[in-house]
């Protein structure tokens, strides 16, 4: 029997969480080491899956199928394709770097890692799900730990408000999608929640036109689509660093991914019908997000809104329903995921030392933390879509896809590139270069360099972004094989 690697990946975090729960609360080092071990295992396994995926064969690989409730056709079915394999890897990377970044967390690390790992299991579960019920099951598991993580360990000023807003928003989105999914289940008449079977179900156009928005927009809320993006910036800012990394890096991809898997792939005719609405909203995301980011004074809010903008690009790519657009969106989910994880990690490092995130109050940090400055600059270049890095590899095909559909949107969306460049440069210039305020330089509040753990985390991410940028073949063919499958369902070009 084939080794059930996907199930192991999915359940490793929660098993580790249970083990951590049994460690006494004051043994913080044991807790951290266990967490790191689990994260390393998950990352290595997900990397193994990524590199062992057979691109020529395509389709869903590493499949496992266990009956769960045959009476209703619910099964525990997992598998990865070209789109989900990079996302599984992404989750592994973010989990690993997140644990490294949280090494210094001192207030109840045990509970923190338990909730973080429940979140990780939920996320892994969604990415590998091939059963609709199971997808929802793990989707909700990924939602509720956010509330606890943000409200307990988050930024004191806004954590309660942001945590509740985020949780309610995401829950609303998911339950609306649930109703849509249930409608699909009954309409198909197949007595099965199995997504591969539902792909063949053939829903009537009228059905799809009505139910597609439920499912797509329900999930896209988590993807941050305008106008349901409001939870995201506050949630980002209020969350502790590792949670922000997860939130922007992985969770938002979860929403986009689910809207693709359940919305677009299962109701392709509905996708075509609603295409223009999604294109329009996504364009607003891209441009508006960039504008708002440009005027923020809080460092973390800048990044938060830039996430809204970049996720807009993902959904723009989806909405084109073209080979290039979907490929670009697939790569962008990965590229933006790691990049934003890096961003939030850096923000956390700065804040931990400076105790402020107001850009006018910061400055000259490259003197004290040079590695961080370089890493953030590389991340910033990825964000701008600078060629030679993964951001360009992702954004270029998306734009090509948009050209195929409506060139005007490409031109409007391209404006965001310049806006992004300007605020990224401004932020880098202000925070890392320039003059350092006196009190950070010497004395009690002097800022020190970051730890080895932090540097390793940042280094790993930088290498990945550069590798994908310089050598796209390491990711693009894989994503393309997944796109091929989607195009077969959607009937696009």
């Amino acid at each position: 029997m084939q080794f059930p690697i996907l199930s192991v990946i999915v359940f490793t975090p929660i098993v580790a969480g249970i083990l951590i729960l049994l460690i006494p609360g004051n043994r913080k080092t044991e807790v951290r080491v266990t967490a790191l071990a689990a994260a390393t295992i998950a990352m290595l396994l997900s990397a193994w899956v990524y590199f062992s995926y057979d691109i020529s064969a395509g389709g869903y690989q590493f499949q496992e199928l266990y009956k769960w409730l045959p009476a209703l056709g619910i099964s525990f079915r997992v598998g990865v394709d070209g789109i989900s394999a990079p996302l599984v890897l992404l989750t592994g990377i973010v989990m690993f770097t997140g644990v490294l970044i949280s090494w210094g967390l001192d207030d109840r690390p045990r509970e923190f890692f338990v909730f973080l790992f429940i979140l990780a299991t939920g996320v892994f579960g969604v990415f590998v799900s091939l059963d609709l019920f199971m997808l929802f099951f793990f989707y909700e598991i990924a939602v509720f730990p956010m509330y606890l993580l943000i409200s307990i360990w988050g930024w004191v000023k806004t954590r309660e408000y942001a945590a509740m807003k985020l949780t309610l928003y995401l829950f609303i989105g998911s339950v609306i999608a649930l109703v849509g999914a249930l409608a699909m289940y009954f309409q198909a008449g197949l007595h099965s929640f199995d997504m591969l079977e539902l792909e063949k179900a053939g829903f009537s156009p009228v059905f799809q036109h009505f139910w597609f928005p439920f499912v797509f927009f329900g999930f896209a809320v988590l993807g941050g689509i305008f106008p349901f993006h409001n939870w995201s910036p506050d949630g980002h800012v209020a969350a502790p660093t590792a949670v922000s990394m997860f939130h922007a890096g992985v969770l938002m991809k979860l929403g986009a991914f689910a809207s693709l898997r359940v919305g677009i792939m299962l109701m392709p005719e509905g996708a075509h019908f609603w295409k223009w609405v999604i294109l329009g909203l996504a364009t607003v995301n891209v441009v508006y997000g960039a504008f708002i980011a440009a005027v923020q004074t809080d460092f973390k809010y800048v990044i938060g809104f830039s996430s809204v903008s970049h996720m807009g690009l993902v959904m723009l790519g989806f909405a084109t329903l073209t080979k290039e657009g979907l490929t670009g969106a697939g790569v962008q989910m990965f590229s933006h995921g790691v990049m934003t994880a890096l961003f939030f990690a850096v923000v956390g490092m700065v804040y931990d030392r400076a105790h402020t995130r107001e850009i006018p109050e910061l400055g000259g940090f490259s003197k004290k933390m040079p590695w961080v400055a370089v890493a953030f600059t590389i991340g910033g270049l990825v964000s701008m879509g600078m060629p030679g890095l993964s951001g360009f590899v992702a954004e270029f095909p998306i734009f090509m896809g948009v050209w195929k559909v409506q060139p005007l949107i490409a031109i409007i969306a391209a404006i965001s590139i310049v806006i992004t460049a300007s605020y990224i440069i401004r932020v880098i210039g202000r925070v890392f270069f320039g003059a350092m305020p006196e009190h950070f330089e010497h004395g009690d509040h002097a800022v020190g360099d970051v730890t080895v753990m932090d540097k390793v985390a940042l280094g790993v991410i930088c290498i990945i972004m550069i590798t994908v940028g310089v050598y796209p073949s390491v990711m693009v063919p894989l994503v393309q094989s997944g796109v091929k499958n989607i195009l077969a369902l959607v009937g696009g070009a």
């Binding site: 290039e324 060629p387 090509m400 490409a410 590139i417 320039g434 063919p477």
Partner: protein, 526 residues
Amino acid sequence: MMDFVLNNILTLILFVPTLVAAVLFFLPRQEKALLRWTAFIGSLIPLVLSITLWLNFGAGAKGFQFEVQQKWYEAINSSFHLGVDGLSLTMVLLTTLLTPLCILASFGIQDRIKAYMILFLLLETGMLGVFLSLDLLLFFVFWEIGLVPMYFLINQWGSEKGERELWGGRKVAARTYASFKFMIYTMAGSLGLLLAIQMIGVAAGTFDLVKLFSDPNWLSAQNLGNVGPLGLSFGTIKAIAFWAFVVAFAIKVPVWPFHTWLPDAHTEAPTAGSMILAGVLLKLGAYGFLRLVLPLYPQEAEKYAPALAFLAVMAIIFGALAAYGQDDFKRLVAYSSVNHMGFVVLGIAAAAYAAGSTWAEDGVIALNGAVLQMFNHGLSAAGMFFLVGVIYERAHTRNLNDFGGLFPLIPVYGGILIFTALGSLGLPGLGGFISEFLVVRGSWPIFTVFTALSMIGLFLTGAYILKVIKKVLHGPLNEYWEHHGLAEINIREIIVMAPLMALMLWIGVWPAWILNVINEAMKRLF
């Protein structure tokens, strides 16, 4: 061994600087001498390779030589495709020559040498990539890559003094302002280029330049069908794409009125930064015109050539006037770049206009002049900026009025300055004369009025160059320097200037070795 080198020479030339940068990364930050010399010696390797390339290049052959094509981004039909013809070879030679000289010139930098050298070498890769690319997407990648190191070089190692005021009264360091303006201006300009390239990719289904060149209908009403609805006619769309390309390159050259980023960037950049900026980076824009705009859009180029020629003449005249009016030595040289690059654009415009008509040959002559001017200006501008840097390091001022009568104090420097300045002016016997003559000779039958006007510019060029020489070297000796003394130019600095001066002389006296190569390429350009 030799075979390996020759077979992969372009890839080597392109990536050796990056490799050297990688080596530098692992060297200890404190070993200043080690870092400097490693960077310098490392940068000589691409020079040796490009000389080898030059010697093995067959000038008369059609098409591109030493081609390399590898799979790169197959999903969107873009490949890693390199190749040289006479035009790009000339530029590659210029780049690989100037870089070591710039690095040698940068030996005076004390702060964060490692980062500086790494950035410089990465910049070299970016520039070389633009010249060597035969794939539109790859071209764009390297085009943008060149921006980042330049931004940091200006921002971090640029002149420390000086402030600019922004909207809302906030004051920033001049170098911050200059670097930001440079980056955003150029990026905004390349935005149109990006969009046009995206459209081409979708329509034509390929980014490969060789394929695009070989098909006169590379963009047709038919393959525009691949693109979504634009609601405009084919002619209009192609014209817009043309202008998108033109604007991006016009900003880089820079063509008046897109030149406003240049004085600030040049002035605030560190010496070597200005050298390479004026020496090579501006040529990227002109190269873009020659390599992409003329072959891909011959009809549009012909149609709008008069407009371009007009702008070129404006650049020549106003650039010279502005240079004349400067008190800041470096800013004067910066404006002189605008002035000299104007000739390049005039030549290009003339050739575009004359293509396919009875004056086609004159057009080729003008092109020869343009390309040679690119090379020559690279040498002379780099030289001038370096000399500004030399005196600034000693005097800590760039104000021309602070100098005066320095010739007796620093005769060697004075001699070199006169030589280089006259080379910039276009004195017969030095390279600048040949290229400017060719441009004027070629453009005269085509754009008589414009060419005549540009002669005014030539006259003004003489004016500002002589102003410089007079203000710095001649006249009564400035009391201040008499008391404080001024150090003479040293050996290292002479070594930096020597190759530039030698080449200026060589080209001025016997230009055939380079003109042949250029000519063969220009005959077949489009």
